[in-house]
Symmetry: C2
Subunit: 501 residues, 2 copies
Amino acid sequence: MAEEAAVRAQAETVRRLKQDKADPDEIAKEVAKLLEMKAQLGGDEGKHKFVLKTPKGTRDYSPKQMAIRERVFDAIITCFKRHGAEVIDTPVFELKETLTGKYGEDSKLIYDLKDQGGELLSLRYDLTVPFARYLAMNKITNIKRYHIAKVYRRDNPATTRGRYREFYQCDFDIAGQFDPMIPDAECLKIVHEILSDLQLGDFLIKVNDRRILDGMFAVCGVPDSKFRTICSSVDKLDKMPWEEVRSEMVGEKGLSPEAADCIGDYVQLHGGLDLIEQLLQDPKLSQNKVAKEGLGDMKLLFEYLGLFGITGKVSGGCWSLAQAAQRGCGVSFSGEIPKVPEHDPGPPALGKLLEQGGLDQMISRGPFQPQPFYDGLWGSFWGQDSSSIPQTHLASEEKIRTTETQVLVASAQKKLLEERLKLIAELWDAGIKAEVLYKKNPKLLNQLQYCEDTGIPLVAIVGEQELKDGVVKLRVVATREEVNVRRESLVEEIRLRTSQP
Amino acid sequence: MAEEAAVRAQAETVRRLKQDKADPDEIAKEVAKLLEMKAQLGGDEGKHKFVLKTPKGTRDYSPKQMAIRERVFDAIITCFKRHGAEVIDTPVFELKETLTGKYGEDSKLIYDLKDQGGELLSLRYDLTVPFARYLAMNKITNIKRYHIAKVYRRDNPATTRGRYREFYQCDFDIAGQFDPMIPDAECLKIVHEILSDLQLGDFLIKVNDRRILDGMFAVCGVPDSKFRTICSSVDKLDKMPWEEVRSEMVGEKGLSPEAADCIGDYVQLHGGLDLIEQLLQDPKLSQNKVAKEGLGDMKLLFEYLGLFGITGKVSGGCWSLAQAAQRGCGVSFSGEIPKVPEHDPGPPALGKLLEQGGLDQMISRGPFQPQPFYDGLWGSFWGQDSSSIPQTHLASEEKIRTTETQVLVASAQKKLLEERLKLIAELWDAGIKAEVLYKKNPKLLNQLQYCEDTGIPLVAIVGEQELKDGVVKLRVVATREEVNVRRESLVEEIRLRTSQP
């Protein structure tokens, strides 16, 4: 304690010397003395080579990155609220047991907490399982909610491509018993609104219903035992041509060439409502009960999307959604920004931004049983860390401000600290966003430079003469225009000059 | 896969039966069949007794709790932005090493992550160490930032009194080299603004400078070796009378009665600027260099607080801040809501809501060395989970809405789903917050009831006649008033009727 007090006293000495702008040699001497005192006090503490870094796959958000993140989240939250969603929050960790059995192979990517006595815990892997747990625990059968929070995956992410181990998901879910396809259509409308609002470029919303694929496999004679593996081949249609997918099916996976060709005839078809109509007329598929139900629902969905006026950006029968569709039942979708070749090798192309699948399987599965069934939906903005998107696609052009400060309270002469403090308190109390430099006698040039650096648009300058005249000199940083404003009108004047159009 | 498909098909059958409101006996039969199929599929999975709960010391936030939390955070963030703060974010976990040696005895409360290969990680314990790490890592010497995020402590919290293992901190820090007491005064102004804005009741901001206490101990002849333990006795002055504190000092801690009485003469004094002036005149204390510096700074601080017009709620020389002051150097403060006896045994009294201490010790200590010194500050809203405060103190009276929906799009007759969807898309596209029930033919009564339940103020009703006339019937839920509005004026009319005054 006594040694610590001595170190503190010495630190204070150094601080004062720096503040008083003392002789640099003297400062150096006292700093050396301080470091020595600390080294003695800290023992070996200071010698250990310590690497200053964030954990692997994580990062800090700087003020600039936060300004962008806020803008993106604002757009998303505004849309969710426009659609009447409530918001919930859940703990960052769950009982390990709650997550067990929910993610199949990916379970190995879950972060477990150390057993420090008490319950075994894991960091949440997504927001869907916590949501399902929340519903089951509170016996909630009807809710439309959003949840924006970080999730954790011990993946080997390519941070250069915006993938992290800690990243945000923005989930919007509708849970409840409803007439078919109405909530599904609203989810797609939401996706359409958000992607339009963010102005990330042209986009395409891909839609599929896993029942169509199930029926297709059945009528093509795919053996039950091969459903899953053939499904994952189909999933690759986005990345490789049909011929390669076919040879994988036949060569690697032992599917008969006839079955493969039959699948090929279907999965090479593309379109919207027209494709659905065509498949409903298909002599084989229309005989399959499951496929017919799926196609019927897709037709209804497109009808509603037509009423919403968004069919132009929606593509039906997107077979490469097979994998995603496995997780839920019913309709699944993804929203994608097509790759723009000229961006290569610059900012990474934006791939899949979101996907959606049925909630009912999730909630009715495993430890949450027995629980009622939900015809719920989930639409989650994910893929790349949503907040990293605009880094490359939104922020390239414009200068981004990291504060909203409207005015800097400044003075041209010395000995006016008290007057600056009095004025800024008036502004704060009137709700004006204002700053002041924490110096007794700052130079006017430094104060103006601070405004240039941080984008503050106005400077309120107090001086001897202005005080006598009961005015404040208001300077517009961009134009260097200066006007004297009566002190009692200052707040109104600042509001007028900084109001958003 | 085949079995899973069969379960899915069966689940779909059940869903359809429910949707079609089929014979309950038939539904029950199919549900039983489904559960049996699942039991076979899941093996033992379903039999294990699973407890649905959040981890100990954590909780979910329901939509209502979130609505309150948003309101509190809005007030805090608005104030931080008014003072020109930037915002940063850091990962929820840090390298274990980064937290090592920062929290003394409390280190045992840190949540460690399991060693799953790779780096050893711990959940953040506060936002201050991550901030210090951020500054050191990015070589930032000047910043004014806020950070609002959850922190984690394996404490045995009294959740009934609003203390949790996962809780929010709202930190505002100013780091940099500045003239003394200007940023300190701004921090207190911020505390004053936020506590006023939240309208939690009367409050008192307690201020102290540890150098005064250090000097006091020195002139009273407290041996260096007893500084820390006597400090923790002084800290109890809030909870017990001086006589008990004195007997602890003398009896348990072996301080001489003379030294104890000397301390007693000082720590029983209370006041603001007057107390500071009195102590500056004190013959013993004014001879002590450290105490004199502390008192000088406190005097300056009160001068600035006077310019800000907030001395009325600030009390100086608050000796029970001793413990908090140990962590930093220079000024420390706490904001407290005095206990209100009539609340007992109702909602818990609000104690200390925040505290502040010097940043420089934190940044210059341990692994962040060698780094420049900061005369930084930190003001953190903490104590009870900030977000739990209003639960008992804000929310008691009023009905809280969990959505912002302005209008429900409804119909009085059947077969108007398409018209409802067309109308709501128009409203969404115009930025109106609107909802529609996900039923093909909902009863008007149910639609009106939904508005009553959720607080939606307006209903836009489409019907055959209205469609023919090119109007929409707008109903005010509270007054049951109904007016026909021309379709092209509907957006404007809704805006007018739901605009905040």
